[in-house]
Assembly symmetry: C2
Homo-oligomer: 171 residues x 2
């Protein structure tokens, strides 16, 4: 299935000069969404994944069906201030300034084998922060899986010690 037909290019969003890859047309097409979820499942099913970590908020859209399908825990990684119980935090750089991602301290167990799921990888900043959160809890990153990869922005190279999977790739 040619999934790029379901990605809408929106110029100058969220700011001038940025070409935004909008996945909502894909979410609206059940056959395409099912194809994507089944791809995640097939890619990860041989890796002994014991938990799926979804990155807020579009990552939840793929991580949650995947956790359901694999019958493993769904673990949310959220922006600062959203998770209510005891948590670990990692700061990461944005274009201007920094932001923070949180995970609950009891979310993962030492040695647990984890897949990290998000809709898109660009520079890899949030993905790298999420690998740090997983490893702070003693768990292992079996793979990072993304619906869309913006290959020109170098996220894969910054994650080269990990298995990085993507379904739709733009140069």
């Amino acid at each position: 299935m040619d999934l790029k037909q379901f990605i809408r290019d929106v110029p100058d969003f969220p700011q001038p000069g940025v070409l935004f890859r909008d996945i909502t047309p894909l979410l609206k097409e059940p056959a395409a969404f099912q194809y994507a979820i089944d791809w995640f499942r097939d890619q990860l099913s041989g890796l002994g994944v014991e938990a799926v970590v979804g990155i807020e908020s579009r990552g939840f859209i793929f991580a949650a069906p995947l956790a359901y399908q694999l019958a493993v825990p769904f673990i949310p990684v959220r922006k600062s201030g959203k998770l209510p119980a005891a948590r670990m935090s990692v700061e990461y750089a944005l274009e201007y300034g920094t932001s923070e991602l949180d995970i609950h301290q009891d979310a993962l167990s030492p040695g647990q084998n984890v897949a990290i799921v998000d809709d898109l990888i660009a520079t890899g900043g949030t993905a790298i922060a999420t690998t740090k959160l997983v490893e702070l809890l003693g768990a292992r990153v079996a793979a990072l899986a993304f619906l869309v990869e913006l290959a020109g922005l170098g996220g894969r190279e910054r994650l080269k010690e990990y298995r990085v999977l993507s379904l739709i790739r733009y140069e």
Copy 2:
């Protein structure tokens, strides 16, 4: 299944005097998460639902697996400034001030039969705003379904012209 055992009470979050019902233990328990998703599916499967609208961001965790299961479109309703293409907006009241929810203008078709899904209903403010967005596009609300209902806060009464479903109820 007694799902309340998987809801963690966190006092004074996000502010003093509020008892936060944390659903992350339920998300972490595959049998409980699957029970919840299957409950949504069973509740909605007789209603001719043609699209599932998920409210950012915890609503995505239930709406996405449900859309997958029902093989219907997944439609995100998001906070202001997140959706990139042409959109409709509705303002709603918070305890102090107002906030805004958006939907893409091409997300739904006139007459389409829609289920609105979120993790929790309290006063119903975001749920009511979402019914307005659905109806602005000419679609119909077949039901609103929530994992958790805080019944004492009156959301159901404010939505009394709609079918409101909830799996876990606190008085």
